[in-house]
């Protein structure tokens, strides 16, 4: 009797959310099957920002390809670059000078802070509160200014280079970072006041989008998404790189598995990042910031895999080299890709409004998924 596509069963409605939709944070396309307001199925359609980065990288040299990776997860562009640099260094067996190591970690954590701030604002916007977005951007702009001063750009800095970092820190860096931390410590309490403690917000988050720890592992979720389900998966702890083994910080774990748990993990991570930066900011060793490398980098034949913890989870770089100046095949294991695959599982049975909240707490960056 009902022959139109679009209505599968009686009373069900198939709605496209995205690719142009305010809550998909870019161009994710979700085909949502609804019964009334209740979600029966969510089917992500990807590829609306598939830029063939992996193919491109096959024709870029080891110095050049790093910059493309900042365009994947542009909110953790630094950390992505870091992962790539680590992988090249692993292949070339370059010893990174200690100063560069600390600078890298500092920048990573600042990036993580900026990313989480943006997430906080955007997620609050998704659930309908518009003002937090602006407060988040105020703090983010402070970080951007610091970044711009040292790296020369606001978002896609291209600051990492195989063997260290491209420039030395700006002389004002330490002072500004300290000022910022002092400022941000008060603001993060405001975040709690405005959003975390808000009853509407809590009710919108609690019990929504439950993901058990087994499912989280099975779906390959990482980062705050998995840690919200109690899965310990912080690469900074489990496979420490750079100076992460020397700083004190906690892996924030929540066992709720719902949106609120994921939210709390990210809020906790912001505080941890602050403490990491505070520990390191006064202890930047002197010396070189960039190891001496050959002008043209050639990785030996073989396979190299390195992973880092971005703001969204485990970012893996898998380089297969045939010994030339360009990678033979390169694969980026992006955290968002796996996290997204759990979306359908999490969203079933909830309302449309919850779908938005769940996506908000997954913190998807679509180019990171599509590559």
């Amino acid at each position: 009797m009902i022959e139109e596509i679009g209505t599968t069963e009686q009373g069900e409605l198939v709605v496209n959310l995205g690719p142009q939709h305010p809550s998909t944070h870019g161009v994710l396309h979700l085909v949502v099957t609804l019964s009334g307001e209740t979600i029966k199925k969510v089917e992500p359609h990807l590829g609306y920002i598939h830029r063939s980065i992996e193919k491109m990288c096959e024709s870029l040299s080891y110095r050049q390809f790093i910059y493309v990776t900042s365009r994947m997860d542009y909110l953790s562009s630094h950390i992505n670059n870091h992962g790539c640099a680590l992988c090249v260094e692993k292949g070339m067996q370059i010893e990174v000078p200690p100063r560069a190591k600390v600078i890298r970690v500092l920048m990573d954590e600042l990036t993580r802070l900026a990313s989480h701030q943006l997430w906080w604002g955007a997620m609050a916007m998704d659930v309908g509160a518009l003002t937090p977005f602006f407060y988040a951007f105020r703090e983010r702009e402070a970080i951007n200014d610091i970044m711009e001063e040292t790296c020369g750009a606001r978002l896609t800095m291209n600051y990492m280079a195989p063997g260290g970092v491209a420039f030395d820190l700006h002389p004002d860096f330490q002072r500004k970072v300290k000022d910022f931390l002092a400022f941000f410590r008060t603001k993060i309490d405001e975040y709690d006041e405005l959003v975390t403690d808000n009853i509407i917000f809590q009710r919108r988050m609690e019990g929504i989008g439950y993901l058990s720890s087994e499912d989280a592992i099975s779906y390959g979720c990482t980062g705050p998404t998995a840690r919200g389900s109690g899965v310990s998966c912080d690469i900074r702890k489990s496979v420490p790189y750079e100076v992460y083994s020397q700083v004190q910080f906690e892996e924030v774990l929540e066992t709720g598995g719902d949106c609120f748990a994921r939210y709390n993990v990210r809020m906790g991570e912001m505080r941890q990042s602050i403490s990491i930066i505070e520990q390191l900011i006064d202890n930047i060793p002197g010396g070189e910031f960039l190891a001496k490398t050959k002008a043209v980098l050639k990785l030996p034949k073989g396979e190299f895999y390195s992973k880092v913890e971005t703001a969204r989870g485990e970012f893996g770089v898998y380089i297969i080299s045939e010994g030339g100046t360009t990678p033979y095949r390169i694969k980026f294991r992006s955290p968002g890709f796996s996290n997204l695959s759990a979306l359908d599982h999490m969203a079933r049975g909830h309302k449309i409004g919850d779908l938005v909240a769940i996506m908000g707490t997954l913190d998807l960056v679509i180019p990171d998924i599509d590559r």
Binding site: L46, G47, H50, S52, E54, K55, S59, E214, D215, I217, S218, Y219, G220, C221, T222, V231, S232, C233, S238, G302, E303, F304, Y305, E314, G316, Y318, I320, Y328, R329, K331, R333, F337, S338, L340, S341, A342, H345, D370
Partner: protein, 151 residues
């Protein structure tokens, strides 16, 4: 489990497997036959317990295609890399999406970009590209005179 111990347990499960040296993780080379049951066993065997598949990569070696699975156990914290060697023209391998849910998307990606067919996959369709796309862009012999401007 150390690398050596891992090797022993793997050989027990899959006698035909060979090992590749020189990388940081235990690397197993195998063909498409038996991969399915092997995967099931490494997932369920309590001393192995590879519950977390973190990366699936398809590589075009011009003569053949390998699919590389990176596995980790969140319990034992050991890592295993399995490379499944497939025919270049008709790459086919059993799906593991029933064992690790994350594989569903990763396999679709490999199918989309490399043309590897995962038999038994619940929903093997193009993932990133449009349905009417021709060819497997990540293969080395892929040519696209219209869209690809070579530098």
């Amino acid at each position: 489990m150390t690398k050596e111990e891992l090797k022993i347990s793997v050989t027990e499960l899959l006698p035909s497997a060979s090992f590749e040296e020189g990388s940081e993780w235990t690397t197993v080379l195998t063909g498409p036959d038996g991969w399915d049951s092997f995967a099931r066993q490494v997932r369920s065997a309590p001393q192995l317990d590879f519950d977390y598949l973190f990366c699936v990569t398809a590589v075009d070696w011009k003569t053949h295609i390998t699919v590389v699975y990176h596995l980790t156990s969140t319990v034992h914290r050991h890592t295993l890399v399995v490379k499944v060697k497939l025919d270049h023209d008709h790459p086919e391998v059993a799906t593991v999406s029933g064992i690790w849910r994350t594989a569903e998307f990763h396999e679709r990606e490999a199918y989309d970009l490399m043309g590897v067919v995962f038999t038994g996959h619940p929903d093997l369709r193009r993932l990133f590209l449009t349905d009417e796309w021709k060819g497997w862009p990540l293969r080395k012999d892929y040519e696209d005179p219209v869209n690809m401007i070579k530098l």
